[in-house]
């Protein structure tokens, strides 16, 4: 008999009441109306369970760390118990050959039907030797596992964009997973790490609705990455008013003014921090007085200082930014005009002299 999610949850000792609570919570956290709660419940009671295989490549495990801190214990328990059944190097009970055997079994049994969640990315230099797992390059394991997956989740900045290990000059050639995997739907969930509730939300959506959430142009779920930090920041009224922190620890900082001038990347960063927040919704960086560093944007390590909004232009050798380059060009043009005008005036004067001289 095929096992449903509900069967698994009951076996894990979760009551029907808790299960229904979970369904309504999930519906709201995904931004769906309460009418969706029964639909989720129905799906979980009738659909065969979809296993999740969670691979870890070149990474720091911050995504897993974030994930297990999901605010609502129920969500956490439910998702975790589903996950740990399958394959998650850090969380599963099995180890060594036993674990690898389990992975092979899931791949065979659920061929074309499991979800692959990837934390970290494969380094491609030296045939992938910079990341070896179970004696083999991670890139091989990744490609093999992806080949039979139904859909792939790219956790965090690492899997989505490369993150710090791919920062210039990227010695190991760490590569985002969508450059290695082809022909599979990939959901990017960027952030360093992504917010726990965003992660559980995405997994739950995929498990219950059996499809990937609606994505934006850059492959991110619209429901969590559809707006910038700046669009929902509680300091936005100070931005519009023109009230800024001018220096760390000045009076404006104490008053909680906008951090734009301190290089806040909120206006260029798509994430849910300013709505969902972190650590059970306690706070987020801007709320604790520091600008957003844009951790969920592509290549955020290579976008210049965390405390400067305009990207440095490295090609100029020295650290230049758009304002310096532009200002220099405009000033040079102005100076050239002044000198040229003086020379022209001289020439004109000489010419009229010769003209009058001839007369």
């Amino acid at each position: 008999m095929t096992e449903t999610f509900y069967d698994v949850l009951r076996r894990q000792g979760i009551s029907r009441r808790s299960f229904l609570k979970f369904c309504s919570l999930t519906a709201t956290s995904l931004g769906l109306g309460s009418a969706y709660a029964p639909k989720i419940a129905h799906a979980m009671e009738t659909k065969p369970r979809t296993p999740v295989i969670w691979l870890e490549g070149l990474e720091c495990t911050c995504c897993s760390e974030s994930f297990i801190r999901s605010a609502h214990p129920l969500t956490k328990d439910v998702i975790l118990s589903m996950l740990s059944l399958d394959y998650h190097v850090t969380l599963m009970a099995a180890a060594g050959h036993q674990a690898e055997k389990q992975l092979e079994e899931i791949k065979k049994k659920y061929k074309g039907n499991y979800i692959l969640a990837v934390e970290g990315n494969p380094p491609l230099n030296e045939d992938g030797m910079f990341c070896i797992e179970g004696g083999r390059p991670f890139v091989e394991i990744l490609k093999e596992t992806a080949a039979d997956a139904k859909a792939v989740i790219a956790w965090g900045a690492c899997a989505s964009y490369g993150c710090v290990q791919a920062a210039k000059p990227n010695p190991t050639r760490a590569t985002p997973i969508d450059k290695v995997i082809s022909g599979k739907p990939i959901v990017k969930v960027p952030g360093c790490p992504p917010i726990a509730e965003v992660m559980t939300g995405v997994v739950t959506y995929m498990l219950t609705f059996d499809r990937i959430p609606e994505l934006d142009r850059q492959g991110r779920p619209k429901m969590f990455y559809g707006q910038r930090i700046h669009d929902k920041c509680y300091r936005r009224p100070h931005f519009d008013a023109g009230q800024f922190v001018e220096q760390w620890d000045d009076d404006n900082a104490r008053k909680g003014y906008c951090l734009y001038k301190m290089g806040c990347k909120g206006p260029t960063t798509y994430n849910a921090c300013s709505t969902v927040r972190w650590n059970d919704g306690v706070s987020f960086p801007i709320q604790s007085g520091h600008g957003c560093i844009g951790c969920s944007e592509e290549g955020f390590w290579d976008k210049g200082s965390f405390y400067d909004r305009v990207t440095d232009i490295k090609q100029f050798g020295i650290e230049a930014n758009a304002d310096k380059v532009g200002g220099t060009a405009a000033a040079a043009a102005g100076a050239a005009v002044a000198v040229h005008a003086a020379a022209s005036a001289l020439k004109k004067a000489k010419k009229s002299e010769t003209v009058t001289g001839e007369n």
Binding site: K222, G242, V310, A330, A333, A336, K348
Partner: protein, 236 residues
């Protein structure tokens, strides 16, 4: 035609003989020119202040809206600028052949190259006189193409892409221009390009205004009055 023959035909063009007056810039071109100049002034000042805001104002946030007004000025001028540009493109088709100059570079025309070299030498004080032109001189033409036509397209594409971020996914700005952001490597990079574009245009304006005034005084044809009345008169 080789370069020398081209130069000779430029020098002896009967159309530009001294004392002759030609109608060059039609009404819509002149109107567009001055509206556009005003838009760019507003866009450059407000844009700069968006990138580097004024010192903080004091008082309740709800009692102030300085950034809001600056951004409003930017977006309002941006719409006028963009619509003006579209109308100007229409006029390139509907108007006289001088109206088309702004949108194409005659890189296959030897006369154009001969004029470009002469004009460059004139600005380096190596020539006593420039040639005379009914439309734009080739050097001005080149810069107008690069820093007005190309730059306007860059500013409109990046600008509306950034505007679409605020309007949200699915807005027409996002649907028409949203593709620009991933292409340039993200939102921040789009801001940087938009910002650099401003400096490119500011540099052009400085040189353009200087050249217009200088040519008016020193060359053998009228300039500033041409952009006001549309008529160009040639001198000896």
């Amino acid at each position: 035609m080789n370069l020398n023959a081209a130069a000779a035909s430029l020098e002896n063009d009967p159309e530009t003989a001294a004392g002759k007056t030609v109608y060059v810039y039609e009404g819509p071109v002149r109107l567009w020119h001055w509206i556009n100049a005003l838009c760019i002034l507003v866009l450059a000042v407000s844009g700069y202040l968006i990138g580097s805001p004024l010192p903080s104002v004091s008082g309740e946030a709800s009692a102030n809206f300085l950034m809001g007004y600056i951004r409003f000025a930017h977006f309002a001028a941006a719409y006028v600028f963009a619509v003006g540009f579209l109308v100007r493109i229409y006029w390139a088709v509907a108007g006289n052949h001088h109206a088309r100059q702004l949108f194409m570079l005659p890189v296959t025309d030897m006369k154009w190259w001969a004029g470009l070299i002469r004009e460059l030498r004139w600005y380096l004080f190596l020539e006593k006189q420039p040639y005379k032109y009914v439309g734009h001189n080739p050097l001005g033409h080149l810069f107008m193409f690069l820093f007005v036509t190309v730059a306007a397209i860059l500013m409109i594409c990046t600008g509306f892409a950034l505007y679409g971020e605020g309007m949200g996914l699915g807005s027409w700005q996002d649907r028409l221009f949203g593709w620009v952001i991933p292409l340039l490597g993200g939102s921040q990079a789009t801001h940087s390009w938009h910002h650099l574009g401003m400096w490119g245009i500011v540099t052009f304006v400085i040189l353009h205004v200087y050249a217009a005034v200088r040519e008016d005084i020193m060359s053998r044809q009228t300039m500033i009055s041409t952009m006001i009345s549309g008529q160009r008169t040639f001198r000896e």
